[in-house]
């Protein structure tokens, strides 16, 4: 048993080193457009995995993701922008003096974004205890929108609907994928622990969970807080990636995409969330030409903005109606699983080569 654990650890370490190498290669060689897509993959991975934690593993259908992302994004943006950029942005109404001269390096700004989002997540967790599934969904959706409306009106802190431009582009593949890796690591470790079991119990049957001594308040709030911390971090990464944010970035539409991704990847599968997030981001870019006019030989197709979302929504409906467990269902990637499959493949190939009359099972 110990040998297997050590083997797995070495494999994980090797994979991480490989990933690091690939990131370095990418950072050095790819054009900004491709880099941006890769960074977005990481950001959406964090969004999806955290939503999975809240819903797939704890059973809380909380639709407030966009709100937490906004908190992290604005926090990081305001902290990392130079005082000159702030003056330039806040021409309608000057920024609050407290923030006017602050300029932080990226890491503390990102972390503070996460912490602020976590605090709000912590606070949201309590009222969430009293609401059952569909009411919780609408209430958290309302919360996300309240955050957005607040940011639209808070001229002296967020610059209102004008948004913030000129946010330093600190986000690179190391930061984004580093954060994504940390998110996956922590969420997976949590889910694979006794606390994870407790969360799943709360998800499957919260009355029984309580009867077994599990505090619903503690565990639901734990889930909310951990989840919103990383959502805040992802928001910070987003702000420092696209360099321009305004409240419209954080409409419920963002949360909707995250829900769709997670459902399609498979609720309760972290692996599924990662895969789906990356596939979604990539396909969104690949299908961009669909929304501009193009010619298929003699046929001229006019621009069709919104087409990608039509496809996405239709796909999501198809998954919900016909393939409910999504891509991975509840399965996770594991070295054991992979090696097992490879061995099985090897055996099957070996069997075909030998011309004995084996009985197939």
């Amino acid at each position: 048993m110990k040998k297997i654990i050590t083997r797995n650890r070495i494999l994980t370490l090797a994979a991480l080193i490989l990933l690091g190498g690939l990131l370095a290669l990418a950072e050095g060689n790819l054009d900004p457009y491709k880099l941006r897509v890769l960074n977005l993959c990481a950001i959406f991975t964090i969004f999806a995995v955290t939503f999975n934690l809240i819903y797939g593993f704890t059973g809380q259908f909380s639709l407030g993701h966009a709100g937490f992302a906004a908190i992290g994004a604005y926090a990081a943006a305001l902290l990392t922008m130079t005082p000159e950029q702030k003056v330039a942005n806040f021409f309608l109404q000057p920024i609050v003096p407290l923030l006017a001269d602050i300029q932080w390096p990226f890491l503390p700004a990102m972390l503070l974004g996460g912490i602020l989002a976590a605090i709000v997540g912590f606070l949201v967790g309590f009222p969430a205890l009293r609401l059952r599934s569909d009411y919780l969904a609408i209430a958290t959706l309302g919360f996300g929108e309240i955050v957005r409306v607040l940011f639209v009106n808070w001229q002296s802190i967020t610059n209102g609907s004008l948004g913030l431009k000129g946010i330093p582009e600190h986000t690179n593949l190391y930061w984004s994928w580093g954060a994504a890796a940390a998110t996956v690591f922590i969420v997976k470790r949590l889910v694979d622990s006794s606390y994870g079991r407790a969360l799943k119990a709360v998800r499957d049957d919260d009355i029984v969970a309580e009867a077994l001594g599990i505090s619903l308040a503690y565990h639901k709030v734990l889930s909310f807080t951990v989840s919103s911390f990383f959502v805040g971090i992802a928001g910070a990464l987003l702000a420092n990636l696209i360099s321009t944010i305004d409240p419209k970035v954080f409409l419920f539409f963002l949360t909707y995409q995250v829900v769709g991704i997670t459902v399609m990847g498979g609720m309760s599968s972290i692996t599924g969330s990662v895969i789906a997030a990356c596939l979604y981001t990539v396909f969104l870019e690949l299908l961009r030409p669909l929304e501009m006019s193009f010619s298929l030989g003699p046929i001229h197709v006019p621009p069709l903005p919104g087409m990608r979302m039509v496809i996405f929504s239709a796909l999501l409906l198809a998954v919900i109606l016909f393939y409910r467990q999504g891509l991975m269902g509840r399965r996770e990637f594991s070295w054991d699983g992979l090696i097992g499959k490879l061995n099985g493949l090897r055996l099957r190939l070996g069997r075909r080569e030998s011309s004995s009359d084996e009985v197939s099972s």
Binding site: L190, S193, R197, A198, A211, G213, I214
Partner: protein, 257 residues
């Protein structure tokens, strides 16, 4: 000497409906006592009151000397009261072993940070939990099913699993709500023997709701009969069987398979 469980004049009203009316009783440590009565007589309501799902309208419940009426269910569980439900409620997303392991979570001392970082204190506790769970499943003859989906087990095994999960919380008082529901006579007898076995092995006190009188007559030294939320008889099986009020309460219901 205070009894393990002391219920005094416990009353529960839902709006105008009186579900439980001045229910009083004492359970001594080590007792095996049955609570029987026709459908809708308030048996499960009493269990829900003891375990904190309902708050008493009036009256008191004392466990080990402490008042627990209206306390939160998870706190009551931590005191040492565990229960099973009328409809078997296993965690369908978890396999057999994990279902039982959930039961051990309430005594975990390590926090989520320690768990995520796999600190030595947490790892030790987790290993202990797993070892204890496996022992428990062995003692209950379920260990060969450890990695099966909990809901794929045959009915009788599911019931045993649910009880095993409750036992994992290391309770002193175990409340079983119609454990033999849906079982044929042979299965019910098996179950009753099982209950007697765990009563001794785990030093429990067992409070048992059962609808089928025949099932409890054989093994419970004390039986409380309620109807419309009130006690109508109490005593050993022989006394209950010949009690006129009890017979009338069950009239028309008869023997249930």
């Amino acid at each position: 000497m205070t009894a393990l469980l002391e219920i005094d004049a416990l009353t529960k009203k839902f709006g105008g409906l009186v579900a439980v009316n001045e229910f009083s009783t004492r359970l001594e440590a080590g007792e095996l006592c049955a609570l029987i009565g026709p459908n809708g007589s308030g048996k499960t309501t009493i269990f829900n009151l003891i375990t904190g799902i309902y708050r008493p309208t009036s009256g008191s419940i004392h466990f080990d000397g402490a008042e627990i009426g209206g306390e939160r269910p998870d706190l009551i569980a931590k005191r040492g009261i565990a229960r099973t439900f009328q409809n078997i409620r296993l965690f369908e997303g978890l396999d057999v072993l994990n279902n039982v392991l959930v039961g051990y979570h309430l005594r975990l001392k390590a926090g989520p940070f320690a768990a995520v970082l796999r600190m030595p204190g947490y790892v030790r506790e987790e290993q202990m939990m797993v070892a204890q769970a496996q022992e428990l499943l062995e003692a209950l003859e379920l260990d060969h099913l450890i990695h099966e989906d909990a809901t794929s087990l045959p009915y009788g095994q599911q019931r045993k699993l649910e009880i095993a999960r409750a036992l994992a919380t290391k309770p002193r008082l175990l409340l079983l709500d119609e454990p033999a529901a849906g079982m044929n006579p042979e299965e019910s007898n098996d179950l009753m023997r099982f209950i007697l076995h765990i009563l001794e092995t785990f030093e429990l006190t067992v409070f048992l709701i059962e609808h089928q009188m025949r099932v409890v007559m054989g093994i419970c030294p004390r039986i409380i009969v309620i109807d419309h939320g009130e006690i109508i008889a109490e005593g050993p099986p022989e006394a209950i069987q010949t009690n006129q009020r009890v017979i009338e309460a069950y009239l028309g219901v008869g023997e249930h398979a």
